[in-house]
């Protein structure tokens, strides 16, 4: 027995150790797989949230992680990690991006061209390739559209002399300006009209010696190719192609970057985003508590019986969805406008709660019923819920995007915003 036992004992001990090891390892693996996995999820979420709340891009995070094990033992450990994740600086807009490097900013404009922004007086970094290098802040910018003007005007609150850096505006004297500052500067000759946006006065443009021209463009646009030929530096603003209201307004960051106002642009946008979200939240919360039904909206313009509606993927439609409302042409897969047949319009819009005529030319219900006699029978007309654009909407309504959204919210749910007066829409 003894010798037998003597040989068995080490084997037994080895087996026991092996079993213990396997058990420990397996247990460790199992714990790691479940607990660790869960834990990772929590941490990631926590990290993401922390980053979102701060404005700095990269920072060291001190994370407290609590692990609860099977046994009622709580182990607390402190973990330090470098959060390499960067918050994308552009969140809503789809047609531009911003990338920051050491001493430079790299933008992608509406045509996906890379635009390197270098502080005036500094040299461009050698290792960064770009289609265009711009010294910021610009000194003699030329703008093509009233929407560009609106964004500059919005930034003026934080940079009172911003217009000193703009030399000209296309169609500058053809617009009816709702920005008194712009009008004043035209009167004083500090701003120059550079001609029609589709065919600028190139001689005058060159005479202005612009260091940057901000344009919008489209397939086969003659202006862009001409600027290319004349070697006039230009960037493309595609705000009008965005499919959300916030996406359209986020271009304020793009515009701000050229004036060296990156921080201001980010702050202004943050504010607008927050107000937008507040309005949206307020509507959905009130609807739940006050038992308000979602409304149906039709958004259109009509000239000589030709009906144009906003597409179901447009910024208009998305704003309507963000207010928990139904859009009559939500199945129209388009981010822009589309022509629909009159009968389709009548079929879909007749039971809409709210009609929005997306023009400021049609100013009376008579003009509307002259265009579409059937409208007289529409629910929205019977209930007096027809609105049109106010002429200031293209300028002020874009500058004050959150106000535009609040107007829309109050048109859809007047009971939730009893004291609100419309700024950019007018009841017919």
């Amino acid at each position: 027995m003894m010798p037998k036992g003597g040989t068995l004992r080490p084997v037994f001990a080895a087996a026991l150790i092996a079993a213990l090891l396997v058990g420990l390892f397996g247990g460790y693996l199992a714990a790691g797989a479940t607990g660790g996995g869960l834990n990772t999820v929590t941490v990631t979420r926590e990290v993401a949230r922390t980053v979102e709340l701060r404005t700095t891009l990269t920072e060291r995070l001190l994370q407290t992680v609590t692990l609860t094990l099977e046994r009622p033992v709580t182990v607390t450990r402190i973990e330090t990690q470098l959060a390499e994740k960067r918050e994308p600086e552009v969140k809503h807009a789809r047609f531009f991006s911003i990338e920051r490097g050491d001493g430079y900013t790299l933008l992608r404009d509406g045509l996906n061209r890379t635009v390197l922004l270098v502080k005036r007086g500094q040299s461009a970094p050698q290792n960064v390739k770009a289609d265009l290098v711009v010294q910021v802040p610009v000194e003699r910018m030329v703008l093509m559209s009233a929407t560009h003007v609106a964004l500059v005007e919005r930034l003026r609150e934080y940079a009172p002399d911003i217009w000193d850096r703009v030399a000209g505006i296309m169609w500058g004297r053809s617009y009816q300006w709702f920005f008194s500052e712009v009008e004043r500067r035209f009167a004083e000759g500090k701003l120059v009209d550079v001609g029609a946006a589709w065919s600028p006065d190139y001689e005058k443009l060159i005479e202005l010696k612009p260091d940057l021209v901000m344009i919008y463009t489209f397939e086969g646009d003659p202006v862009r190719s001409k600027l290319e030929e004349l070697r006039v530096p230009y960037v493309v603003n595609s705000e009008w192609l965005e499919n959300t209201l916030l996406g359209r307004f986020e271009w304020v960051k793009f515009v701000a970057a050229f004036f060296g106002l990156d921080e201001v642009g980010a702050r202004v946008f943050r504010l607008v985003e927050l107000r937008y979200q507040l309005i949206s939240t307020r509507v959905s919360a009130s609807m739940a508590t006050l038992n308000v039904k979602p409304v149906k909206v039709a958004w259109f313009s009509v000239y000589k019986g030709t009906v144009f509606v906003a597409g179901g993927l447009s910024y208009v439609a998305n704003s309507i969805y963000d207010l928990n409302a139904v859009y009559a042409f939500s199945d129209l897969k388009a981010t822009g406008g589309r022509q629909v047949s009159l009968e389709e319009f009548v079929a879909r819009a007749r039971d809409a709660d709210v009609l929005v005529v997306s023009t400021d030319l049609i100013q009376t219900l008579e003009a509307l019923t002259d265009e579409i006699p059937q409208v007289a029978e529409f629910k929205a007309v019977r209930e007096g819920r027809v609105y049109r654009f106010n002429s200031n909407i293209y300028q002020l309504g874009y500058m004050d995007t959150e106000g535009w959204f609040l107007d829309l919210a109050s048109m859809l749910y007047p009971q939730l915003f009893p004291d609100h007066t419309l700024s950019y829409f007018v009841a017919l």
Binding site: K304, G305, V307, Q339, S341, E343, R348, L361, I362, A367
Partner: protein, 307 residues
């Protein structure tokens, strides 16, 4: 939108159809009538003008009538609203302006047709009036704001989608009268086929036939322009289709049959425009060409073949 067949039949035979179906049927009916009238007018006018000018490429808009109509609309929409003469945007005023513009150019063309010696001169005058009007229109458009220009663009595009009973009903008697009158000018036009000198030897009053033909054509084109704006291709292609099919130049046949074919082409194109990509609607001017050009090409090949 889908409407049950029996509702359509019921509505056409005067039974009451309730609600949305009735509205939709009414909408389709008015644009179909508009397409019929406009297409017939363009077809007949095209036949008359091609025969009068002995030019196979003459189309109803060669007289400059649609340009005159556009100019009047542009002036009303842009200058009128700018000066505060009429309300901000008044579709009825625009219809009236369009009709007056067409009428003014028609009268001018008819007067000139009586004074001018040659038909070539008449064509050139029509074309020049057209250029003059479109030049002025461009000037007006350039100096006005974007939204007005957009509205104006729609007002000068040919479409049946816009049709309203109020407009169709007031134009209908004139159009029918002009179509009947076109039958009367067919025979004198035949005499002109071999040239004005030859016609004179037959004892026909060349001048009277020419003025009559221009008046009828101008009236037809004006009706069409008021109802639907300038719908292209129909007036050019319908007479050719008829001549190729019937192998005749006899205006007593080609004029009325061109009206029929024109009406047909317009209605088919309109149906295609609103159904091919529903709920989207295609511009009818694009469809008339896309639809009509292959048909005319096929007829040409069948008639004359290849060498």
């Amino acid at each position: 939108m889908r409407v049950p067949f029996e509702s359509v039949l019921g509505a056409l035979f005067g039974f009451r159809v309730e609600g949305l179906a009735a509205t939709v049927i009414d909408l389709r009916l008015v644009r179909t009538v508009a397409a019929l009238v406009s297409g017939a007018s363009l077809g007949a006018a095209g036949a008359v003008l091609q025969s009068l000018f002995r030019n196979p490429l003459a189309d109803p808009f060669v007289l400059g009538i649609s340009s005159g109509s556009s100019l009047a609309i542009a002036a009303t929409l842009i200058a009128g609203t700018g000066l505060g003469l009429i309300g901000a945007y008044d579709p009825q005023a625009l219809y009236v302006a369009g009709a007056l513009g067409a009428l003014a150019v028609s009268l001018a063309v008819v007067a000139l047709s009586s004074v001018l010696r040659s038909n070539l001169g008449l064509v050139l005058v029509g074309v020049m009036l057209g250029y003059l009007a479109s030049g002025l229109t461009t000037l007006l458009v350039v100096t006005s704001d974007v939204e007005r220009v957009r509205a104006f663009t729609f007002w000068t595009l040919g479409t049946f989608s816009a049709s309203k009973w109020s407009v169709v009903n007031s134009v209908l008697p004139i159009a029918v009268g002009s179509l009947l009158a076109s039958l009367l000018v067919a025979k004198p036009l035949n005499a002109l086929l071999f040239g004005e000198d030859a016609a004179a030897t037959t004892g026909a009053s060349v001048r009277a036939s020419r003025v009559g033909a221009v008046a009828v054509a101008a009236s037809l084109v004006s009706c069409s322009v008021v109802i639907s704006g300038p719908v292209g291709f129909v007036g050019l292609a319908a007479p050719h289709a008829v001549r190729i099919l019937l192998k005749t130049e006899d205006n007593r046949l080609t004029v009325p049959l061109s009206a029929l074919v024109g009406a047909e082409l317009a209605v088919l194109s309109d149906i295609a425009a609103r159904t091919l990509m529903s709920p989207l609607e295609l511009p009818v001017t694009a469809v008339t060409s896309l639809f009509g050009a292959p048909i005319v090409l096929a007829l040409v090949v069948r008639r004359w073949g290849f060498r």
